[in-house]
Symmetry: C2
Subunit: 110 residues, 2 copies
DNA sequence: TATTTATATAAGCAAATAGTTATATAGTAA
DNA sequence: TTACTATATAACTATTTGCTTATATAAATA
């Protein structure tokens, strides 16, 4: 692993929003509207964070109808590093419950 | 570990200079003038990076005469996280050889 | 078709960041 | 004391960052 690449990964995860996103994605895929349930910020802001993670190859996206689901990219060269980092981050059960309670995508039937 | 604290640590290591510093400090303590041998930047810039790492409790400093030596703080709550991260970063043998060749602190007799 | 919903992109802005040069401080040594 | 060396701090600047609002795109639906 190149130093530049490791540093990029750490910089991206060195933001509370993105670190939380990744911690959640470790357990379940999420679409943008689900993230909107747990982050107190605008939808474009959430999309922009996800874009950065996608550009770095840390997450992948897949469209299901009008929803776009984001997942941790297990094929990424950064996956193991991320996995090791997440061992030290607090779990996000609270936020995941919040997502599920919200039924943000119950509408989509997924 | 708080999310804020983990994010702070990742942000600090998400800089190539600081990540390299930490990778070196894993193997040997260094003073500022030794870091000057391997980073192509001004002395104040190096001091400022070390200050940020010190403020976060990631490194500690100890003065020996006119030299100030920096070490990884093994007592830090971030130490294990950092240790796990460094497993994924390239080793800095090259730079450490460069430091030793330079004899930056041979003068101090340490 | 037109409307609604989900998401992305563009443009702008304030705050943070990483570097610089100049200067201050601390220790050593003449 | 004075001069020198190592390091820290201050002040400044250009760039990057993370947000905002406004708008565009894409899919579903009436």
């Amino acid at each position: 692993m190149e130093l530049d690449r490791a540093a990029l990964c750490l910089k991206l995860l060195g933001d509370k929003t993105r670190l939380t996103m990744i911690s959640i994605l470790k357990h379940r895929d999420c679409c943008v509207c689900e993230f909107q349930e747990v982050f107190d910020m605008s939808q474009p802001s959430i999309s922009q964070h996800l874009r950065k993670l996608k550009d770095a190859g840390i997450v992948t996206e897949s469209r299901k109808g009008q929803w776009v689901y984001y997942s941790l990219n297990q094929q990424s060269d950064l996956f193991e590093l991320i996995h090791d980092i997440l061992k030290h981050a607090p779990d996000q059960t609270e936020r995941m419950i919040q997502i599920e309670k919200s039924n943000a995508t119950l509408r989509c039937g997924c």
